[in-house]
């Protein structure tokens, strides 16, 4: 932990005077002096640097020492205090870092907006609820996240989608013409829907019996309309055929249709009709037939024939409401705000500035205006013509990429990013979207980078509803919750898993994290909390009885075995197999995502667990796994993963509580970690994890910093991570303190250029960065 070259020298001296003699005595007989039993050579290390270059071997050394695997029983054993001495030195050596110099902020590769960022940016830029990126190809991921600049590539397929998305966005955002302009729409009799009758000729309809002929019509707004019907009757008896005009089943007006076939007449109604979809019906109500009258002259058949119906309107309509998107984009109206050219320039400048997330340059606006003039000269209406440059903005690299530039002189020396670049880093980190007006204003004033201003903005942004994106995108990927969307547990073993349960699981995690963010709670609540959110479906799944209905309620977890993210059904499900739990998978998940100490991947050609019914019945999963672990190659890592996973075995593969496993064996949740710590059951596991909050904090910090910067962690980031952790500890682990410390770090506030991809040199199969 000590800093500076003196501390480094001290570490190396301790190795020479204390550690090396011990190792010579107990280890080098087999793993040194030219011997390398089990392919392990231990006498090639002399300094902390050597140890850091081979952390994997040294982690194993610490593990086998503490577990008593090495030295083997028949060999001389070091005293407990000597073992501890070696372990303590190794831990310090691995952890040692000199943080006395300036920080290297690293290079963030030109970052293309990913699908979420694109959708959100379009939403905020144009105020439309439209997600064109859902149709884009999936973004590739790196370091566990889909916002890594290096991995987000461009392709012709994507370019094609961008072009067409730009057209669709403008189509939806801008209102063309007046939707309330008066129109006439005519429907011939046969174009309407009848309840009775038959065609009278090629286009008219004969209502030969009591019944209706109707049409559903969308009245654009509440206003006066005129409805005209051309009709005639086949007359019979005293009365003329009656034609009742009905609106949504209500009689409006009744016409006596006295006209005859050779001279159809037009019947009119004019009146106020509310906006929206209405059923306009013409009802025939007084049918009369007499075919059997002895007086042949009194025989006959009365019918109503509808030739067509016209709807005209609206008359005297109010001015149409301008959609928010239209106002957001077309910020000037010719005539009112200046000439067409002036207004177009204003619209283009405003849109490009917001889309590029920094002021559009004079040249950029001039170039875009040429597109406008071309379209206008091509006789496009003003709104249509102005769409063309706006579409170009949406395909411009300045919109599609988060551009950060370096000064032309010495670009590779770390330098602060501009306040506009900072605004984008902030907004895409916390909101997965473009900066809002307030951030842009602070950037324009060049005050955004001031630490107090930044802190205030972080607090404000976290309490904004858009911060839910941090849950969806950061937490969703960190805890692999996104995998729940496509998850299909074996329906024969878990018949009660359905869409509702899946959604409830997801919602629980989302609400829990949103609470931690909104109420600025301690991130240690992720490891252990006394509350969560459930609705009736999830409560039932958890064995709780007092929550009813679809809505989620915050409930106490006292007495439920649950608490923290690891006992959420969502996490328990995605860390299981579809048909069974996997203590290994869950253990690995905790090591990787919670403690940040991933085990190395398994050696090739490892036989997996037998899973036949006979095997399941013959031995418990634990017994089967223990058999598997008897192979020393597997043992080293499995002794780290399995005890953690076993402690969670009371939760089945969809996160419900159980006392027996699928084979009917009582569940044994006890185990021992390599450091000798005992774990037993979920409550105890929580305590163990909280006792390792340092590892957890470092893990969260590394993951969130990766996500915030959109690049992988490098060796030089270790000091930054350490400093962030210190600051969070000082602030009682409050969520905002993690975000704040990240945002205030040099890695976030500065950047440096990179002129060449890191040269890679292969040396005997291992890669060395130069």
């Amino acid at each position: 932990m000590a800093k500076g070259p003196a501390a480094a020298e001290l570490l190396n001296q301790r190795f020479a005077t204390q550690i090396k003699p011990l190792m010579t005595q107990y280890c080098f007989t087999c793993h040194g002096n030219g011997k390398h039993k089990g392919d392990v050579t231990l006498d090639k290390y002399a300094t902390w640097k050597d140890v850091q270059a081979d952390k994997q071997t040294w982690t194993t050394v610490m593990d086998v020492l503490s577990q008593g695997i090495m030295p083997p029983e028949e060999k001389p054993q070091p005293a407990k205090k000597d073992k501890e001495l070696i372990a303590a030195w190794a831990a310090e050596a691995m952890d040692y870092i000199d943080c006395s110099g300036p920080r290297d902020p690293g290079h963030v590769t030109l970052h293309r907006l990913n699908r979420n960022e694109y959708n959100n940016t379009i939403r905020d830029l144009c105020a439309i609820d439209f997600k064109p990126a859902d149709d884009f190809p999936a973004d590739d991921t790196g370091y566990g996240f889909d916002n890594i600049g290096d991995v987000l590539s461009m392709s012709p397929l994507l370019a094609e989608k961008y072009l067409s998305a730009a057209e669709q966005v403008m189509e939806r955002a801008i209102l063309m013409g007046n939707p309330y302009a008066k129109k006439v729409k005519r429907f011939t009799g046969i174009q309407m829907e009848p309840t009775v009758g038959q065609t009278a000729d090629s286009s008219a309809w004969n209502l030969s019996n009591n019944g209706e002929l109707f049409k559903k019509f969308d009245f654009v707004t509440a206003a006066e309309y005129e409805i005209r019907i051309q009709a005639f009757g086949e007359q019979f008896g005293e009365e003329a055929p009656k034609m009742v005009l009905r609106l949504d089943g209500k009689d409006i007006l009744t016409f006596d249709v006295k006209a005859v076939g050779r001279f159809p007449e037009t019947y009119r109604y004019r009146g106020k009709i509310p906006g929206g979809n209405h059923r306009v019906a013409l009802a025939y109500t007084n049918n009369a037939v007499d075919r059997n009258n002895p007086d042949r002259s009194k025989r006959g058949d009365r019918n109503l024939i509808v030739v067509w119906m016209e709807i005209e309107g609206p008359f005297n309509a109010p001015p149409p409401p301008i959609p928010e998107s239209h106002k957001r984009v077309l910020v000037a109206t010719p005539g009112r705000d200046g000439t067409e050219d002036e207004c177009a320039a204003k619209i283009v400048r405003n849109f490009a500035t917001r889309a590029f997330r920094r002021p559009a340059s004079v040249e950029e606006v001039a170039g875009l205006m040429r597109l406008y003039r071309m379209a206008r000269a091509n006789k496009e209406p003003f709104e249509q013509a102005v769409k063309i440059p706006l579409q170009a903005v949406l395909v411009s690299p300045h919109f599609l990429f988060r551009v950060e530039t370096d000064p032309p002189a010495n670009p590779e020396i770390p330098h602060p990013i501009s306040d506009y670049e900072l605004a984008s880093r902030l907004s895409y980190f916390i909101w997965s979207s473009m900066p809002d007006d307030e951030l842009m204003q602070l950037a324009a004033n060049r005050t955004l980078h001031n630490p107090p201003v930044l802190s205030k903005q972080v607090r404000r942004m976290l309490s904004d509803p858009r911060a839910v994106e941090l849950v969806r995108n950061f937490v969703g990927q960190w805890l692999e919750l996104r995998n729940l969307d496509d998850w299909t547990p074996d329906e024969r073993r878990f018949p009660n898993f359905d869409e509702k349960l899946r959604r409830a699981m997801k919602k629980e995690a989302e609400l829990f994290f949103s609470t931690v963010i909104k109420e600025d709670r301690s991130i240690l609540e992720l490891l252990d909390s006394d509350y969560t959110y459930v609705n009736e479906r999830l409560a039932k799944h958890y064995g709780m009885t007092d929550v009813k209905g679809e809505d989620f309620k915050r409930v106490s977890l006292a007495g439920t075995h649950r608490g923290g993210v690891l006992t959420m059904a969502s996490v328990l499900t995605v860390t299981a197999m579809p048909s069974r739990t996997s203590p290994v998978k869950r253990g690995k998940f905790v090591l990787e995502q919670i403690l940040g100490t991933p085990p190395p991947p398994p050696p090739p050609e490892v036989p997996a667990l037998p899973d036949k019914r006979e095997d399941v019945q013959a031995a418990s999963l634990r017994q089967r796994l223990e058999k598997h672990r008897s192979n020393p190659n597997c043992a080293v890592c499995h002794q780290r993963m399995d005890p953690i996973g076993f402690a969670m075995e009371n939760f089945d593969a969809i996160g419900a509580w159980r006392d027996k496993d699928a084979g009917g064996h009582a569940i044994d949740t006890s185990g021992k970690l390599p450091n000798g710590q005992v774990v037993d059951g979920p409550e105890n596991l929580r305590k163990v994890l909280v006792s390792r909050k340092g590892d957890f904090l470092r893990c969260v910090t590394e993951k969130m910093l990766t996500y915030a910067l959109g690049r992988g962690m490098e060796e030089y980031d270790r000091c930054t991570v350490k400093e962030i952790c210190l600051s969070v500890e000082k602030n009682n682990y409050r969520f905002s303190s993690v975000v704040d410390a990240i945002v205030q770090s040099d890695a976030f506030l500065k950047r440096r250029g990179k002129s060449e991809a890191t040269a890679l040199v292969k040396v005997e199969g291992t890669e060395v960065k130069k």
């Binding site: 999936a138 590739d140 071309m374 551009v403 991809a757």
Partner: protein, 456 residues
């Protein structure tokens, strides 16, 4: 109207009038391909172009159920290959091919990432979770680069995996390696189209567009102008960037140019664009069989209508743990592939392998049902299916399961099982296939020759 405006407009109009070079180009190159294939030059004008497609299946197969015992013409159809019965005379089973660069070579675990990455590139991926991704250009893209300008879409990348997964992809490899088999450059993968509806729009947009021809022409013109502007924009930006970022801008500019070319093609083909005999599919079917069928139907149409001649189909990303529940299989594909000799798991793997083969057989039969010139569409194609891993339990990359279908316009003599000497590079096959597409290369990936026995 300013001077520049007029010029931009004229450029747009010039495009609308069609470019003469396209007319002369198409038959010429087809002829070359035909000559390379050794067909008689007599009916050159009627010679159909050669198409090429690669189907990728993840996680290897169960080799004992796959490999025929007999070699040569009367090879036996094993349980997994049995669905190919109706097209047995059109397929060739190739045994003994190897993907050496999918091997670890000191990089440790990550066989699934390496197998997908090396499958069509023959290259060894640089191990990284994100920074400095580096692989090689895939065989389909080499073909697309050479002959792609003759069709509206130089190539078509298809897949069935809907989204990405959260979490790590494979042992320290970026998901880019796991989820893509087609690579345009050493650093840039070609993403896949997975939605049949979107694919339909891309293929038939012009022919199916209800807008009047006049408004379409206008839209093309504006699109061209927008792309011109954007290309200029990118060029200016490029000058402000460092090398690494310039690489990203280069990806962008190349893509933009590609789209410009497509618009030119669209306009040119406007008149001759026929409507497909198929309704636009809506969304991605939840059912894999239906999804695969739609993608196959659309690919057949794309080949038949000569919208593209090169394609890749990724049935699933490597390491996919997809659940084949409709086959009554309860565990995921990848989980099962590590069967450790367990008979029940092997049986499930066999079912999955056979299922994949049934889907492939559907595609081949459809290709065969379409008459083209004196033969069928399949006769004028080379359709390969395979995996970058041989046995999913062992993760070995020799003895790969590879099937090649079609006659490649007469270049291939199918209906056989050929066994190649151990460790024959799979890339030798690619080199031969490229040659038949009219693309002469001395080497591809780790190739050390051509597969002369394909022709007999």
């Amino acid at each position: 109207m300013s001077r520049i405006t007029r010029r931009t407009m004229l450029r747009g109009l010039g495009v609308a009038m069609g470019l003469p070079f396209l007319d002369s180009m198409v038959p010429g190159t087809v002829l070359n391909a035909a000559q390379a294939a050794g067909t008689t030059a007599g009916g050159a004008a009627a010679v159909a172009p050669t198409r090429m497609a690669y189907f990728f299946i993840p996680n290897g197969v169960n080799i004992p159920y796959w490999t025929p015992n007999k070699e040569g013409f009367d090879f036996d159809l094993t349980p997994t290959l049995e669905p190919l019965k109706a097209v047995q005379k059109d397929v060739m089973v190739l045994s003994g091919l190897t993907l050496d660069n999918a091997r670890a070579k000191g990089d440790g675990p990550g066989d699934h990432a390496r197998s997908a990455a090396a499958f069509l590139t023959g290259a060894h991926p640089y191990k990284t979770s994100g920074a400095n991704i580096k692989l090689g250009v895939s065989v389909d893209q080499i073909a697309a680069n050479m002959i792609g300008s003759q069709t509206r879409l130089p190539s078509l990348e298809l897949g069935l995996d809907k989204g990405q997964t959260a979490g790590n992809c494979d042992s320290g490899y970026s998901c880019a390696y796991v989820s893509n088999i087609s690579w345009r450059s050493e650093t840039t993968p070609m993403p896949k189209e997975v939605d049949p509806g979107s694919l339909f729009d891309r293929l038939f947009g012009a022919g199916n567009d209800k807008a009047a021809a006049e408004s379409r022409a206008k839209r093309y013109m504006y699109r061209k102008s927008i792309l011109d502007f954007v290309a200029e924009d990118a060029k200016r930006l490029d000058r402000q960037l460092g090398k690494v970022d310039q690489q990203k801008m280069d990806e962008f500019t190349t893509s933009i140019r590609e789209i410009e070319k497509r618009i030119v093609m669209m306009q040119k083909q406007e008149a001759e664009q026929k409507k497909p005999d198929m309704a636009r599919p809506e969304g991605i079917p939840g059912d894999m069989t239906e999804h695969m069928k739609l993608m196959c139907d659309l690919l057949v149409l794309a080949f038949q209508m000569d919208i593209t001649r090169v394609s890749t189909v990724m049935v699933a990303r490597d390491g996919s743990d997809r659940h084949y529940r409709w086959l009554n299989i309860t565990e995921g594909h990848h989980t099962l592939s590590h069967h450790g000799g367990n008979a029940a798991k092997i049986e499930s793997i066999r079912k999955i392998d056979r299922y994949h083969m049934e889907q492939f057989a559907y595609f081949l039969q459809k290709m065969k049902s379409i008459k083209e010139g004196s033969g069928t569409l399949l006769d004028h194609s080379m359709i390969m299916l395979g995996s970058g891993i041989s046995d999913g339990d062992r993760h070995n990359h020799d003895e790969l399961p590879i099937v090649l279908a079609g006659k490649g316009g007469g270049f291939i003599k199918p209906g056989r099982h050929i066994r190649f000497p151990r460790n024959t590079p799979l890339c030798n096959l690619y080199l031969s296939m490229l040659e038949n597409m009219g693309v002469k290369q001395d080497r591809f990936g780790d190739s050390n020759g051509r597969l002369s026995t394909l022709m007999l």
